[in-house]
């Protein structure tokens, strides 16, 4: 299928998309991307453009696609951070809505998700813990694959996932979930 996709065969591209798009979109939504659908589209356009240079099996392909998704997410965060810095109007700082811009973006993303308690619970995690947990749970990547993707050692990934689970368990206990 990868060979067919490299040749631009529409059926192969569609098969890849239908196989991976839900998980990619879920990963970006779990990361609280502001425009997860647009990012997903960008990810798969990037996949098509990078297909010729990709070498590896289908398992490696899955990891590669999520590495693109992860980079797109990081890019979006940086872009948003810059736009927040650029968009601050001095007159607005004294107004009643001052400081609400940052919260608006995340609230908007949360509202769009329409998710329940599980997605909100991810907010208790650090960025690394969240990335590791989502890549393991949604992308279905192994510890080694996640380690390569994030540029960490496998031991560090194992530690991050243990701590992520511990944090979630504690949070849920506080929430009265049994």
């Amino acid at each position: 299928m990868l060979e067919a996709a490299r040749g631009g065969k529409p059926w192969a591209l569609e098969a890849i998309y239908r196989d991976l798009a839900p998980a990619v979109l879920g990963y970006l939504r779990g990361q609280r991307a502001v425009e997860p659908e647009d990012l997903t589209s960008e990810v798969f356009v990037g996949v098509v453009r990078g297909l010729r240079g990709f070498r590896g099996d289908e398992r490696g392909f899955r990891s590669w696609v999520f590495s693109i998704a992860h980079r797109r997410h990081i890019d979006e965060r940086r872009r948003l951070a810059r736009s927040r810095e650029d968009a601050v109007d001095p007159s607005a700082l004294a107004g009643p809505l001052a400081g609400s811009a940052v919260g608006d973006v995340e609230d908007e993303a949360a509202a769009r998700l329409g998710e329940g308690w599980a997605v909100r619970a991810l907010d208790v995690l650090t960025e690394d813990q969240r990335s590791v947990l989502l890549l393991r749970v949604l992308a279905d990547l192994s510890v080694e694959e996640v380690a390569r993707l994030l540029g960490k050692r496998p031991g560090a990934v194992k530690t991050l996932q243990r701590r992520a689970l511990a944090s979630l368990a504690r949070h849920l206990e506080r929430q009265g979930v049994s």
């Binding site: 591209l13 599980a118 689970l165 206990e173």
Partner: protein, 250 residues
């Protein structure tokens, strides 16, 4: 010890297989892990849905990207096609060179320097053709920088003593001219001269025969045996006989 530390310590002691089971959303019998497993299962349910409704738009974007990728490699294909076209276009020129100078050279009718020149020209044409250059550039090969030695090559052919007469003239003409046989590969002007010479010899033999016959007839009739036979000798000039008479003034 704070509760957070308790959890971290507890998780650090958990069997890695239970951690993996929790990440799969399966219950393990450990209350803390089971709560986490419940959350993991809910994350999967909420976040991984069926193919999103935007799929059509995304697929379209992918198709556009795929077309761009193909188009990105298109110039290579079109260049190859153009090169092939140029090769095809330059082949008649190379063929003309082969037929023009090459036939003469192949038949051994050109002396060595001329043959070398023809060989070089054809090789250069083929080389340019393989390199995918324009047909016009192939034409330039015959008139370009190599043309600087043209005079020397013509001189070399002209001073070559291996050929004489018409053949030598032809060889010099081949090199000095357009390096092609403009009159066609089957044409050989030297052959024309030789045919003329043969025809002249034949006519001369016929005339001799006619004179001998006339002489024999005159002898048979017995009269004026000393006069030249008809058609054998040069005709008498009547004017020369009366020149003295005619030129005197009355």
């Amino acid at each position: 010890m704070r509760p957070q530390d308790d959890y971290q310590g507890e998780m650090d002691r958990v069997d890695p297989r239970l951690i993996e089971a929790t990440l799969q959303g399966r219950e393990t019998g450990e209350p803390a892990l089971d709560r986490a497993a419940l959350l993991v299962a809910d994350l999967r349910r909420v976040l991984i849905e069926e193919t999103p409704p935007e799929a059509a738009g995304h697929l379209e974007a992918m198709a556009v990207a795929a077309r761009d990728e193909v188009r990105g490699s298109a110039p290579v294909l079109s260049n190859r096609r153009a090169a092939r076209r140029r090769r095809l276009a330059s082949m008649p020129l190379a063929a003309a060179l082969v037929l023009g100078t090459g036939l003469a050279w192949g038949a051994g009718t050109l002396p060595e320097p001329a043959s070398d020149r023809a060989e070089e020209a054809v090789a250069a044409a083929q080389e340019r053709s393989d390199a995918g250059t324009e047909a016009e550039e192939v034409t330039e090969v015959t008139e370009g920088p190599e043309g600087a030695n043209h005079g020397e090559e013509v001189s070399a052919v002209a001073t070559d003593d291996s050929l004489q007469g018409c053949r030598k003239g032809m060889a010099v003409s081949e090199v000095a001219g357009s390096k092609g046989n403009k009159q066609g590969p089957g044409h050989d002007p030297c052959l024309k001269g030789e045919e003329g010479k043969a025809r002249g010899q034949e006519a001369s033999a016929k005339g001799q025969q006619t004179a001998d016959d006339a002489r024999a007839k005159a002898q048979d009739k017995g009269g004026g045996g000393g006069g030249p036979p008809e058609g054998a000798g040069p005709p008498e000039n009547p004017g020369s006989q009366g020149a003295g008479k005619g030129t005197g003034k009355p």
